[in-house]
């Protein structure tokens, strides 16, 4: 489905990503973890076209994405959410979602149909009662759900989630997890950055670990949890002996 081959990114002399390769299969939930500054969000920014890679290629359904503008990549079927939420503050919740719908290239609908479709999506994420609230007045949880809704509005085949659970309380995390699971049922492939292990370990089929811009491990959650390199990266060498 989505594939990255030998992606590197240098900011000046600093290597944010070094020869990272990955591939996602259809309807898979793949977790992307790693300590702060490991290059996770940089990888997302490269996939979605916000920054160009220094080398390497991104393939989506066999087609190269390199050099395409972010809106083209989005229209081809890759949507994302942001770690720091970016709602359109002065638009209502409904309008926020409608923007994604009216910007699609495939599955075009009229403006009035777009509104009713936006309502459907809001129901899915549980924001249907707040459709006419300005996005800036939402709570963090609701803003995160709005990020979800907006991404879904573009009818993505692959959804990139950037720390959707960060800053949420346990009940809210549970709700987010349920939502992510239900998206898989809708046939969406998910690539998910998360720091909350409890959340990602229970849901992901496979986990990729980045450390200092390099992929140090990949495998099912159980294996990753016991991988010595991963524990080393997160906790430091001395914990390995114990």
């Amino acid at each position: 489905m989505l594939e990255g081959v030998n992606i590197s990114k240098f900011f000046g002399g600093l290597a944010a990503l070094k020869n990272v390769s990955f591939s996602l299969n259809k309807r898979e939930i793949v977790g992307l973890i790693g300590p702060n500054g490991a290059g996770k969000t940089t990888l997302f920014n490269i996939i979605t076209g916000f920054i160009p890679p220094s080398s390497g290629t991104i393939l989506f359904k066999g087609k190269k994405l390199n050099g395409l503008k972010p809106h083209k990549i989005c229209r081809s079927g890759i949507a994302r959410t942001y770690q720091i939420v970016k709602p359109f503050s002065n638009l209502t919740v409904l309008e926020n979602v409608t923007v994604g719908i009216v910007s699609r290239e495939k599955n075009r609908v009229s403006f009035s149909k777009a509104r009713s479709e936006a309502l459907e999506i809001l129901k899915l994420v549980g924001l249907e009662n707040k459709e006419s609230v300005l996005a800036k007045n939402l709570t963090l949880m609701d803003k995160k759900m709005l990020e979800f809704a907006r991404a879904l509005a573009t009818k993505p085949e692959v959804l990139l989630l950037d720390e959707v659970c960060a800053g949420l309380n346990p009940t809210e995390i549970y709700r987010a997890i349920q939502l992510i699971k239900s998206l898989r049922e809708h046939g969406i492939t998910i690539f998910w950055i998360e720091h909350i292990m409890r959340a990602i370990m229970t849901v992901a089929d496979r986990i990729i670990v980045l450390h200092h811009g390099e992929k140090i491990a990949e495998g099912p959650p159980k294996e990753i949890a016991n991988d010595s390199r991963v524990i080393d990266a997160y906790l430091g060498e001395k914990y390995l002996l114990g």
């Binding site: 359109f88 503050s89 923007v99």
Partner: protein
């Protein structure tokens, strides 16, 4: 049946505007309205790119001036019918906007504002120094109007253009383009990431905006009968439409209408204090930006809130038996 007061009010206002020139001794009012129409048209046009899309252009005098000079060229020099000349002027202005927009609209926020500000000065200086392109040179040129043309003709022409400008503003605001522009205003990256073709949307908005401003630039010649580089180009012209928009309310349909009418009124009152009027403009804008960036519309909104709150408290205290 519920009466739609908005539509009723609009129609009444339009009818009043149409019959005013027929009133006895309406000369002063006609003159005021004519200039108010001009500033309303300009700021409604500017509002599309500056208010809806949040691209704070300080270079709209370029489109105004291009409209004016192209009109003079076709109407005065080539002797083409005035209506056709106005249309041609609008088209040229739009073409200019594409040429300007493609490079400058890649700039963001303050950089776009400063870039367009520079352009508006560049045009003024160029027009002052190239009499072979800009007819009349520094001193400008008087334009002979068609025989029998009076201010009343200009009044109705300008009224038509104002209605067109406001209607365009209304339709853009309620279209998918308007929605995308407002999204761009709030967060360009998020919009781009959601599939909005940000650059194309901004260019289309700038084209519509400059078309309106260009048409207005051409139309005003029919009542000023004069064009010179300093009368149509330059920062002062660019700022006028921005100020009127800020005064009324940025990004709203009514903002430029209220703002334009107030701005012209203010200009007329301050006519007698030639050295103070800029100072007073500046102070008003500074105060507005600090206390109510949403202009008159914002103040009205706040008042409505306060009234509602009072009503609520009153009802509450009655309910508590006080």
């Amino acid at each position: 049946m519920k009466i739609n007061y908005k539509i009723l009010f609009t129609i009444t206002l339009l009818v009043v505007m149409v019959v005013i020139p027929g009133m006895p001794r309406a000369d002063v009012i006609v003159r005021y309205l004519l200039w108010a129409f001009l500033i309303i048209t300009l700021s409604s046009g500017w509002n599309i790119i500056g208010g809806y899309a949040g691209q704070f252009s300080l270079g709209h005098s370029v489109f105004y001036g291009v409209g004016a000079y192209v009109f003079v060229m076709f109407f005065h020099s080539f002797k083409i019918h005035w209506a056709l000349s106005i249309l041609i002027a609008g088209i040229f202005s739009t073409i200019t906007s594409v040429a300007i927009g493609i490079p400058t609209l890649r700039l963001r926020g303050g950089y776009f504002a400063v870039g367009t500000l520079a352009l508006s000065e560049v045009m003024r200086v160029w027009a002052n120094n190239a009499p072979e392109v800009f007819k009349g040179g520094v001193t400008g040129i008087a334009v002979t109007l068609p025989e029998g043309w009076s201010i009343i003709h200009s009044y109705y022409l300008m009224l038509n253009l104002t209605v067109i400008a406001i209607a365009t503003s209304y339709f853009v605001k309620n279209s998918t383009l308007g929605l995308k522009l407002r999204a761009i205003k709030d967060d360009e990256d998020a919009a781009e990431g959601l599939g909005v073709n940000v650059l194309t949307c901004k260019i289309v908005a700038l084209m519509l905006s400059s078309l309106i401003v260009g048409l207005a630039g051409a139309t005003q010649i029919t009542f000023t009968a004069y064009v010179s580089p300093d009368s149509v180009f330059g920062t002062k012209r660019s700022l006028e439409m921005v100020l009127a928009c800020l005064l009324g309310g940025l990004g709203t349909i009514y903002g430029p209408i209220i703002g334009g009418a107030l701005f012209e009124l203010l200009a007329r009152i301050l006519w007698g204090f030639p050295h103070f009027h800029l100072l007073i403009y500046g102070s008003i804008i500074a105060v507005l930006i600090v206390f109510e960036p949403r202009g008159v519309i914002g103040i009205a909104d706040k008042l409505k809130h306060i009234l509602r709150l009072k009503q609520f408290l009153k009802v509450n205290s009655i309910a508590r038996g006080r």
